[in-house]
Structure formats: C-alpha cells, structure tokens
Symmetry: C2
Subunit: 334 residues, 2 copies
DNA sequence: CTGTTAGCGCTTTCAA
DNA sequence: TTGAAAGCGCTAACAG
C-alpha cells in the first residue's frame, strides 16, 4: 500500500506538501498540486486514517453504542446517526452493549481505545455515576434515551412517563376499565417510567391498579406471547392490553388470535415505539410514537456542533411521545 | 490520556516491558508484571488501538459493509457477525452502502483507509470486476450474498433460484394456477434469480408466465402495497401471490386486507427471507428461509480462520433455502 | 527477563 | 509556497 512518502517521491515534492494538498486548507501552487494529485492517482494512494489519527489527535469518527445491532428500533437509530454523520464526513464506529453493564463498559472502552472524537451512547445497564465519570474523562459524550440530571446537556431523552400515560388514557377514554399491561424488564428505567405513566392515568380515572394484570416482559415478541398467555390465565377478563413496546404487542396479538380472540372487538391493544412494521400487523397497531429518528439525528447534530464545530441548529434535549391511533383499539361495549 | 510512556516511567521499567505485559505472549517476571499492572491501573491507562495499529500493521478490526443499517435482514446479519467476531476479540467496523455503487465504493475506501484486517461485504451495486480487483489488492475479503466465479472461495451465497422455485412450487402444489409475483428491483441479482426460480416452477407445471401478474417492487413494505394495488387493477384474478421478500409480503397483505380480501381463503401469500417478524403478521407468513445468520456466522469464521488463523471449521460457500410453511397459504378451491 | 532503538504513516511547527 | 524535522503512541527486532 502506497504511503505519503511514495507519493512525495514520485511527485518530487516533500512530505509536507503532499500532506497539504490532502488537507485542502493550506496554500499550494496549482502546479505542484496537480503533480501531487497525479502521483496519488497513479499510485492508487489511500491515506491511512490510522496514521492520520495518531498524528493529528482526532479521528473523524464517533463511537455509537446501542443495545443490539438488530431490531427495528435500534436499527432506525443507528441508521439515522450514521447517515447524518457521514453527510459531514465523519464515520460511525458501531458497537453493541447487549443491555449488560460489563459489556457496555467493555464496548465503551473499545470505542475509547479507538480514539473516537465523541461517543453517542444508548446504554441501559451502566450506572449514572459511571456516565458522569466518563463524561469528565475528556471524550465528549451524548446519551440517548436517558435523562441524567448532572449531564442534562448531554442527554437526548423521551418523556416515557407521558407515553405510558397517553397509551393508557386512550383506552380509558374508550371506556375500558380492565386493562392489562405487559411491561418491559422492570430494571430498565424506561419500562418503569412507562408503567408509572399507566398508573397515573388509571388513578386519574379512578381505576385501581391490579397486580394480576401486570406482566413483566422482555421487550421482545416472545415476551408478548408469554405475557398474553399468562395474563389470560389470571381470568381477570381484561378488555384492553397495553404493551410497553411494539414487538411485544405483535407477539401478544398473534398469541391472542391463536386463542380465538378477535381484535379489536374482544381485545384492544396498544403498543409503544411506532416501529416501522407496527402498521403492517393486524389489526394495524395503535401505538405511541417514539421519535427515535429525530432524536438520533439530534444526537448526531450535537456532535457535529460541539465537537466538529459545524454550526448546527439548537439542541433539543427532551422529546415528547405522541399517540398514533390505528385499528387495534375499539370502544368498550356492553 | 496516559500513554505507554507514562506507565513505563511510573512502573520504573522500559517501554518494551510495558508493551510485553499488554501483549500477554512474552515472558515477564511476575514481579515487574504486577508493577506495570499497578501503574496502568493508577493511571487509568487505555492503550491506543490507533498507535498499535500503526506500529503493528494490523488492527484487530474487520470492516462490515451492508446495504442498510436498519431492516430485519441486515440487522440479523450484522448482529451475528459482530457477536462472533467480538467473541474472538476482533471488532467490526460497520458501514452502509445503500445499494448504490458510488456509495459502496466509498464505504469500501473508508474501511480500507481504516486499515481493516479484512472486509465482509454485502454489496449489490458494485460490479464483479471491481470486486475481483479489490480482492487482489491485499486486504482479504469475503462476500455475502453473491457468487462470483473467480472469487468462489470468498463468497458465501444462497441459492436464490431454488428459493424462488420452492415458493412457487408450494403454491402450485396447492392447486393455484393464477399466481402473481412481486419481485425485488430487477437490477439486483437476487431478485432476478428468485424470479427465474418462479418461472422454472411454472414451466414445470405447464403454466404460462403472465407479464401482467408481475410487479417490480422495492423490497420494502411500501413496495408490497403498491404491488398488490397494481396487480389487482390488472383484473387477472390471481389466487396466490409470491413476494420476493417478507417486507413486501407484509405490505401486500395489509393492502389486500384493506381491500377486503381474506387470507388465505381469497389469497394465498408467500414471502422470502423468513425475517423475525414474519411469524407475527396475520396470517402467519409462509416463507422461504434465508439462513442469513448461519451465513453471517460463516463469513465471520472465514475471517477468523484465514486472517486471524484461528482453527475454525470448514467453510461452506453455498447455502440452500428451505420452505417454511405457515398459515398464509391454503389449497385452491373450486 | 529487560532495555535500546528504529520505525509505522502522517501532521505540524519552524525556517527558508 | 515549500521543505526539514520532530513527534503522535506503540511494536518489534536486536542486544544485553
């Protein structure tokens, strides 16, 4: 692989000059510039990002850490970040944290060791303190999906409680009173918050929260299947089911139908996230929109603005969820 | 950020010694080793992967190029590669090619500039010749989803024609004769191959291929919606619909239901890929299994074996699709 | 077992 | 406008 040295030799100029034509900024006479360009071309020269990083102390790369590389939610987030960053010639180095503290820290170590200029983190297991410490270490970080008081400026988060509330309120407004709830893993903050929102709505409508109508799911399709099966076994005759995310809603709906329930007539269902395929399940899923694209885009802009000094628009730290009404909810009858 | 030099100073040993304890291999006395470790600990030392890469000529990282960062198919592939690689302490640098030749080449340039030890490529637009040339440049490459004769050893591909054939044969066996087909973008090889398989099955059953029953879709949900709408407008009374991937099948099914068609009674549908959510659409989608996980895993093993010299199992270059029967197909009646 | 000494390929003053 | 030279943080002979 040709080096800058080979180029300088072929072009008959110094290293420095070659470097200058690569980094557009400096003044180089048109003539020598052409010589250098020609030399690069004929050698098939490709600058080493790695050597450049060593010498210049920045890598034009930002580390992106998400829980999983698959799944509609993370996929959208990652995709948006990558696109926005790449539009500005910075590259994303992506790693998965698998919702596990050790793996998340590991991944962060990895990204740091690659000397990323900044980190965009969607982490679930690592503590707030860890992140606060990390933020002090020098590499700028922006955190998606969490709101840490001491790091408020670095957080891009959703009002999950409101989302839970909106979902719940919607079925309550439709007359339902026996409402089952499949939450996410309750050690996750967002799962707790969504559930809290649900409880607030219930309280507002004077309906008592029933432990038997709560199932702690996994945030995956299978969790929805298990949840529905379990809840039905409680024989509590619920007419509406709230799921803490769309995947579980899809699983629950499939399971419900397998057991002979018609939706939305026998059972109204609401999801959460508004992932792409939620409109392709049957019935079309009523859900809560999680503006993850906008949030991911904001995170990318945060980095562009504060790290790469592009003049981006103002940063919005907190986003609001909204209700997306579709076919899976009907009025309570009888 | 502390450097190896700081560590060596604090520990009272030379650079080389510090380097030695980092790279387990060499012999270092237990005593000095502990001193070094302690120094690292107290300095919060984190070796620079970038400097290491420059000095050692390999980066313990492999570039992974896929068309999109979102979507169930790519997500699964990326996830599997990353997991397998990380299990062996090598990291994936992921980039998106967006099914566009220029962007794909760009992304490859990027990965090469980061001096990846190898490349795992899922590319759709770049030519075979380009890849053949690339393969000669030194960086080992493995190609997923294409079978290039000159690069047969580097390819991990699916027999798409067989997949199309199996899907088609299944509905033919169920008595259907008027079969509509929503293909992928026909400039993509896999779309062509799947369609070819369909035609072969038709021929085998002596049913003539009808252009009016073919719609060229986008491989996305929306393409399925458009396809179904268009096909219905042809008034050709088809009783079965083959979709070249599950996303389009999901879109088409939703559109069909919106137009009052019951499935599978009025219309049988078959997808392709067997993505995670295909079993959660209604009716559960009959599809062709694309063993993308196994293939992704194989690609990772290829790299582990040939680049990192781990002793992995034998490499399988060609994979076979299989039929997954579910509820979306029924026997043709009347 | 440990230290010395060149680099790896590039950026970046400082002079010319 | 251009060149010389000193690193960036690490690895890898080669000695000792």
């Amino acid at each position: 692989m040709a080096t800058i040295y080979d180029v300088s030799e072929l072009a008959g100029v110094s290293l420095a000059t070659v470097s200058r034509v690569m980094n557009k900024n400096a003044q180089v006479s048109e003539k020598t510039k052409q010589k250098v360009l020609a030399a690069m071309e004929s050698l098939g020269y490709r600058p080493s990002a790695i050597a450049k990083g060593l010498a210049s102390k920045h890598t034009s790369s930002v580390g992106v850490l998400i829980s999983e590389l698959h799944g509609p939610f993370y996929g959208m987030m990652m995709s948006e970040v990558e696109t926005e960053l790449r539009n500005h010639d910075v590259h994303a180095i992506i790693a998965a944290g698998h919702s596990d503290a050790a793996k998340e820290e590991d991944a962060i170590e990895f990204l740091l060791s690659r000397r990323c200029d900044a980190l965009i983190l969607y982490v679930e297991s690592v503590t707030d303190e860890y992140l606060v410490k990390l933020a002090k270490k020098g590499t700028p970080i922006v955190i998606i999906g969490r709101n840490i008081p001491k790091l408020a400026k670095n957080c891009i988060s959703l009002n999950n409680e409101l989302g839970g509330y909106l979902a719940s309120k919607h079925v309550l407004e439709n007359g339902h009173r026996k409402i089952a709830y499949i939450s996410g893993p309750l050690w996750k903050d967002d799962a707790q918050e969504r559930l809290a929102g649900h409880k607030r709505a219930l309280a507002e409508y004077n309906v008592k929260f029933n432990e038997k109508l709560l199932f702690e799911g996994s945030y995956q399709e299978e969790g929805g299947v298990e949840g529905l099966t379990h809840l039905l076994a409680q024989r509590a005759n619920f007419t509406a089911l709230l799921c803490a995310n769309d995947e579980m809603a899809a699983g629950a709906m499939t399971a419900a139908r397998d057991l002979g329930l018609a939706m939305p007539q026998d059972l109204s269902v609401v999801g959460f996230d508004n992932v792409a395929y939620s409109r392709y399940v049957y019935p079309k899923l009523c859900t809560i929109n999680y503006p993850i694209r906008e949030m991911a885009n904001m995170a990318a802009h945060w980095v562009l603005k504060y790290v790469y000094k592009h003049n981006a628009f103002d940063i919005q730290n907190i986003f609001e969820p909204t209700l997306v009404t579709r076919d899976s909810v009907s009025k309570f009858k009888r």
